[in-house]
């Protein structure tokens, strides 16, 4: 089951930081992938599957560094995270003004999904990249579409929208049917 929209909720259970590891980084654009590796090296190999976890975490860190903190090196990106073979959770907070366009993004995404379900690829061309006033040529404008698919427990922002929490559960390949008591 994939999510259909980005949620906005301060007290969502994905926002709970109890038991999560913590790291913080300066907003250095050149080091986004390096910072990401420092985070995902904690993950068991079973859930790193072909770099996807790294790629998805790097998109969120990039958004915080670039769109949140505007690459101001005095501003921090704060990351809380935990990884097991069954679950990945990440919370990323920046010191910027927040992703104000969440409602526009959700609206854009639902139109995009309508094109996809109609297989209307001509019209889809208008919905391949989400742009705002501050987007530049290096912004793909497509990271959060994949994020909603990948993070199957949800993509949630705080109301201030400078903090995003994501979660994903993984099916254990070697596990049988779980026992419920």
């Amino acid at each position: 089951m994939s999510n259909t929209r980005i949620q906005i909720e301060n007290n969502h259970n994905l926002m709970n930081k109890d038991g999560l590891f913590y790291k913080e980084f300066p907003s250095d654009y050149r080091q986004i992938r390096y910072f990401t590796l420092l985070i995902v090296q904690k993950a068991p190999p079973e859930i790193r599957e072909i770099n996807l976890l790294e790629q998805q975490v790097s998109e969120l860190i990039k958004n915080a560094v670039k769109h949140g903190n505007k690459q101001d090196q005095d501003k921090l990106v704060k990351v809380w995270y935990s990884f097991t073979e069954e679950e990945a959770r990440v919370i990323i907070e920046d010191e910027g003004n927040g992703f104000k366009a969440i409602r526009d993004w959700n609206d854009f995404n639902s139109k995009r999904n309508a094109c996809l379900s109609d297989q209307n690829y001509e019209k889809l061309a208008d919905f391949v990249s989400f742009r705002t006033d501050t987007s530049d040529d290096n912004d793909g404008g497509n990271a959060m579409f994949a994020a909603l698919e990948y993070w199957n427990k949800g993509v949630v922002f705080t109301e201030k929208a400078n903090c995003v929490a994501v979660g994903k559960t993984f099916r254990r390949k070697d596990a049988g049917i779980p026992m419920h008591h």
């Binding site: 040529d137 912004d139 793909g140």
Partner: protein, 113 residues
Amino acid sequence: MELKVRKSGNIYIIDIEGEMDLYSAFKLKELIGKMLEKNISLYIINMEKVEYIDSSGIGALIYVSSALKKKNARLIISNVHGSVKKVIELTKLTGYFPMEETLRDGILKLQKG
């Protein structure tokens, strides 16, 4: 990320090697921009040696496929595999990009006209 251009008949094959990420994806846009100025009309982007792509890389592929379409040039993206394939699937653009399994399939498709 390294880009190399070779020719097969009148088809230009761009072999990409390495990681297509936020630091490098712009190079593909620049290269195709220059090739379009020379009125080249048949392109294959060969992704055989690309093992990592991010949203900037996907953005570059979207940009070049629409730039080529506007100039009535034709494009095939070949050998998409592994995590690159998975990221395209997550972005739900599998049906949007003109992809072929192998370079040979891509060449045959462009030759058919």
